[in-house]
C-alpha cells in the first residue's frame, strides 16, 4: 500500500511537470496581449518594452524560461512574481487559499447534509410522492447554472440588493480569523448556491446506488437476521452504496479547491478562482501558471485519496 502511494505520488509529480509545460506553451503561443507592452504604460517605446521584456525574462528562449521556472519551483518552491503587481505568486496563492477552502469545504458539508439524506429517503420510499418531489427538485438544481443561481439568490436574499434582506450579499467575505461570525454569515449564501447542484447530483447518485444495493442478496440476509429496517438500510444498504459518493466527494473537493471561479466571481470572494480570473484578464502569466499548477495538484491528490479510500471502504480492493 505504501509503495503504491509512493508510486502514485511520483507519477503525480511527472504529471504536474507536463501540466506546467502545457500551460507554459499555451499561454505563449495563443494570441494574447504582450505582458511587456501592458506594463509599459502610456510612455511605451521599443526601448522600454525591450527593457521590461528583459527584466521579466521574456527575451530568453521558451525552453530556457521553462527550465528556470522549473528550477525555481524545485529548488526554492518559487512560483515567480506577478507581472501586474510584482507580488510573489506563492504569497498571493496562500493569501487566497483560505477563502477557497472555506467556500469549498463548507459547501461540501452542506451538500452532504442535504444530498445524502435525500438520496436515502428517495431510494427507500422509491416512487412515492416524496421521492418524485425530491428528484424533480434535484433535476432543477442539476440543470441550473451556478452563476444564474447565484445572481437569483442575491436578488432574492441579499441584505443589500435583495428583496428579503436575509443573508449578507456579494463582497461581504471576511476571513475566519478576523471575525468568525461574519465569516460564517457571509459564506451562507455562497455555500447554499455552490452546494445546490452538488447536493442534487449526490442525491440522485446515492438514490440509484442504494436502490441497486437494496436488491442484493446480503440485504435479504440482513432482513432474515431480524434486524430493524433502519439498520438494514443504513448499516447494510448505505454502507455498500456509499462508494460512488466517496469518489465524487474527493474529486469535487479537489476541483473546487483549485478555484470555484464562478461562485467566487458572483459573490466577489477573494479566493483562488477569483485570482485566476483576474490574472487571465491581465495576461498575468505567472499567476495563471501558479493557479493551474495548484488546481492540477489538488486533482491529482484527490485521485490518490479516492484510491486510498477505496481500499479502506472495500476490503476486496488491495493494491500491490
Amino acid at each position: 500500500m505504501t509503495r503504491y502511494i509512493i508510486r502514485r505520488l511520483l507519477w503525480g509529480v511527472l504529471l504536474l511537470i507536463v501540466v506546467s509545460a502545457l500551460t507554459f506553451v499555451l499561454f505563449r503561443i495563443l494570441p494574447t496581449a504582450d505582458p511587456a507592452k501592458l506594463r509599459a504604460g502610456r510612455l511605451q517605446n521599443p526601448k522600454i518594452i525591450a527593457e521590461i521584456r528583459h527584466n521579466l525574462g521574456l527575451d530568453k528562449s521558451l525552453l530556457t524560461q521553462f527550465w528556470l521556472y522549473m528550477k525555481g519551483i524545485f529548488l526554492h518552491f518559487d512560483l515567480g512574481y506577478s507581472y501586474y503587481s510584482s507580488a510573489s505568486v506563492k504569497s498571493l496563492i496562500f493569501d487566497r487559499l483560505p477563502a477557497t477552502i472555506s467556500l469549498s469545504v463548507g459547501a461540501a458539508v452542506v451538500w452532504l447534509l442535504v444530498g445524502i439524506p435525500t438520496g436515502i429517503i428517495s431510494a427507500v420510499k422509491q416512487r412515492s410522492l416524496l421521492d418524485r418531489a425530491a428528484m424533480g427538485t434535484a433535476l432543477v438544481f442539476v440543470s441550473a447554472p451556478v452563476y444564474w443561481l447565484g445572481l437569483i439568490s442575491l436578488y432574492v436574499f441579499a441584505s443589500d440588493i435583495g428583496l428579503l434582506h436575509i443573508f449578507p450579499g456579494s463582497n461581504s467575505y471576511v476571513g475566519l480569523t478576523a471575525d468568525p461570525v461574519k465569516w460564517f454569515t457571509s459564506l451562507l449564501l455562497p455555500w447554499f448556491v455552490l452546494a445546490a447542484t452538488f447536493a442534487a447530483i449526490y442525491a440522485r447518485v446515492l438514490r440509484g446506488s442504494l436502490i441497486e444495493s437494496m436488491d442484493e442478496d446480503y440485504i435479504r440476509t440482513a432482513r432474515a437476521k431480524g434486524l430493524s429496517e433502519r439498520r438494514v438500510v443504513v448499516r447494510h444498504g448505505v454502507r455498500s452504496a456509499i462508494n460512488p459518493i466517496a469518489t465524487l466527494l474527493a474529486l469535487d473537493i479537489g476541483v473546487l479547491l483549485g478555484g470555484a471561479v464562478l461562485t467566487e466571481t458572483v459573490f466577489n470572494i477573494p479566493g483562488i478562482g477569483r485570482l485566476n480570473y483576474d490574472a487571465l484578464t491581465h495576461a498575468d502569466f505567472p499567476i495563471v501558471q501558479g493557479t493551474v499548477l495548484l488546481a492540477a495538484l489538488f486533482i491529482i491528490v484527490a485521485n490518490i485519496v479516492v484510491d486510498i479510500a477505496y481500499a479502506y471502504l472495500d476490503p476486496r480492493v488491495r493494491y500491490s
Partner: protein, 403 residues
C-alpha cells in the same frame, strides 16, 4: 431420521381440514411446529398479477425435515420467504395462514415478526458469497446476528460467534472470524451462513437451495453438516431444492411444487417408491443413476415451467404432461389422498389404477410414449409432434403453456 413414525411428520395435503385447524389453534403437544394453510402470494407487476404461490398447505413437525421440490419458478422460494415475511417489502399480496407454534405469522406486525426472524426461524440461501455482506468481517456479521436477539455484551457475542464457527466445522474459528467473506471458500461461506442462522438456536431452519452453488463434494459435506446439527440441536428443517438427490439424503417428507401449487406430497419413502404425479415421475426419470447404465436414456420433462401470470387452464401441468387428456385442460385437479395410501396426496386427474400401471411401465425403463401405449391411453391433444420427439425436444410444448 426417516425411520421415525410416519404419521408424525405427515403433510396435510388437502386445504379444507377442519380438524387440523382446531389442532393448530389449541396449541397441544401434537401440534406441528409450522403449519402453512392455503397460503397464496401474489405480486402485481406491469404485465399482470404473478400467482407465485397458489393455495399451498403443508406442515413440519419439531425435529423433522420437509423437502420442497420443484423447478425454478414453481413458487418454492417465495413460499418460504413469505414464512419469514420477507416478501412483504416487495409489495406481495399474501393470504392464508402460516401458523408457527400456533401464532399466525401472516397476521403479525413487522416488529413482532422481526423477533421471530433469525431467532426462532432462520434461513440460509443459495449463493453464500452474495448472501454475506462483502464489506464486513465474517465474525462481525455473526456478532450482529447474535446481538439482534440476545442482550449480550460485545465480548460475549464475539465468543458466541467464534463458538458457532467452530460448531459448523470451520478450523481455527477465532482467527477466521477476522476474515472477510471473499477470503473464505464456497463451502466455508455456506458454513458461515449456517453458523449465522444458528446464532439464536432456531426451532426451524429454512434452507433455500443450500447446496446448488457449491461443488459436488462440498454439497455432501454441507448436507452432512446440516444433518449433524439437526441431530445435535433438534431443529426442524425445510429444505427447498430442485435436486431430488438432496431430498433423498435429507428429507422425512416431500412436497412437490409445480406452478405455485403442491402437486404431490407424502413421506420420502412413498415418493421414491411409488410416486403418483406425472411431474414427479418426470423429475425422477431425469436423474442419472449409476446403476441404470448408459443404455437407459434420461428422459427430460419437455417444455418450460409455465408463466405464473397466465397459467394454463385446468391442470397447470397438462401442456407438458405426456398423459394429458382433452378434459384435463378444463378440470383443475385438487390435492386428494391416494386411495389405499393414507398419507399420500396427489393432484392428478388420471385414475389411480392407471397411474399405478403407468409408473410400473416407466420403472421398467419405458419412455412415456411406450408407457402410454402399454396402458392404452390416447396421445395428449397438445402433442402435435411425432411420438417420442416430445420427450427429448425441450421447448416444443412450451407454446401450449398459455391458454
Amino acid at each position: 431420521m426417516r425411520d421415525a413414525s410416519p404419521d408424525q411428520g405427515r403433510l396435510e395435503g388437502d386445504p379444507p381440514h377442519p380438524e387440523g385447524r382446531q389442532d393448530a389453534g389449541t396449541g397441544t403437544s401434537s401440534e406441528p411446529l409450522l403449519r402453512v394453510e392455503d397460503l397464496r402470494v401474489e405480486f402485481a407487476t406491469d404485465d399482470g398479477i404473478v400467482h407465485a404461490v397458489d393455495g399451498v398447505t403443508y406442515q413440519v413437525s419439531r425435529g423433522r425435515t420437509l423437502g420442497i421440490v420443484g423447478e425454478s419458478g414453481s413458487g418454492k422460494t417465495v413460499s418460504s420467504l413469505t414464512t419469514l415475511g420477507l416478501t412483504r417489502s416487495q409489495g406481495a399480496h399474501i393470504s392464508g395462514r402460516i401458523l408457527f407454534e400456533g401464532r399466525d405469522l401472516v397476521a403479525l406486525s413487522e416488529d413482532e415478526l422481526r423477533t421471530i426472524r433469525g431467532n426462532e426461524i432462520a434461513m440460509i440461501f443459495q449463493d453464500p458469497l452474495s448472501s454475506l455482506h462483502p464489506f464486513y468481517r465474517v465474525g462481525t456479521q455473526l456478532v450482529e446476528a447474535v446481538l439482534a436477539h440476545q442482550d449480550l455484551s460485545k465480548a460475549k457475542a464475539r465468543e458466541r460467534a467464534v463458538e458457532l464457527l467452530g460448531l459448523v466445522g470451520i478450523p481455527d474459528p477465532s482467527r477466521r472470524a477476522e476474515d472477510y467473506p471473499h477470503e473464505f471458500s464456497g463451502g466455508m461461506r455456506q458454513r458461515a451462513m449456517i453458523a449465522m442462522a444458528l446464532a439464536n438456536d432456531p426451532k426451524l431452519l429454512i434452507a433455500d437451495e443450500p447446496t446448488t452453488a457449491l461443488d459436488v463434494t462440498v454439497q455432501a459435506q454441507i448436507l452432512a453438516l446440516m444433518e449433524r446439527l439437526q441431530r445435535e440441536l433438534g431443529m426442524a428443517i425445510v429444505i427447498i431444492t430442485h435436486d431430488l438427490g438432496v431430498v433423498a439424503e435429507m428429507a422425512d417428507d416431500i412436497a412437490v411444487m409445480y406452478a405455485g401449487r403442491i402437486v404431490e406430497t407424502a413421506s420420502a419413502e412413498l415418493v421414491f417408491s411409488g410416486p403418483e404425479h406425472p411431474y414427479t415421475w418426470g423429475l425422477l426419470k431425469s436423474i442419472p443413476t449409476l446403476a441404470g447404465g448408459r443404455e437407459d436414456d434420461l428422459v427430460p420433462i419437455p417444455g418450460t415451467p409455465p408463466s405464473l401470470i397466465r397459467r394454463p387452464s385446468g391442470c397447470h401441468f397438462h401442456p407438458r404432461c405426456p398423459y394429458a387428456q382433452p378434459e384435463h385442460s378444463r378440470i383443475d385437479p385438487q390435492l386428494q389422498p391416494v386411495p389405499e395410501k393414507a398419507s399420500h396426496d396427489v393432484a392428478c386427474l388420471l385414475e389411480s389404477e392407471l397411474r399405478r400401471r403407468l409408473w410400473e411401465e416407466l420403472r421398467r425403463g419405458c419412455t412415456p410414449e411406450q408407457a402410454r401405449e402399454a396402458v392404452g391411453l390416447p396421445a395428449p391433444p397438445s402433442a402435435t409432434t411425432e411420438p417420442g420427439a416430445a420427450a427429448t425436444q425441450t421447448g416444443t410444448a412450451a407454446s401450449g403453456t398459455s391458454p
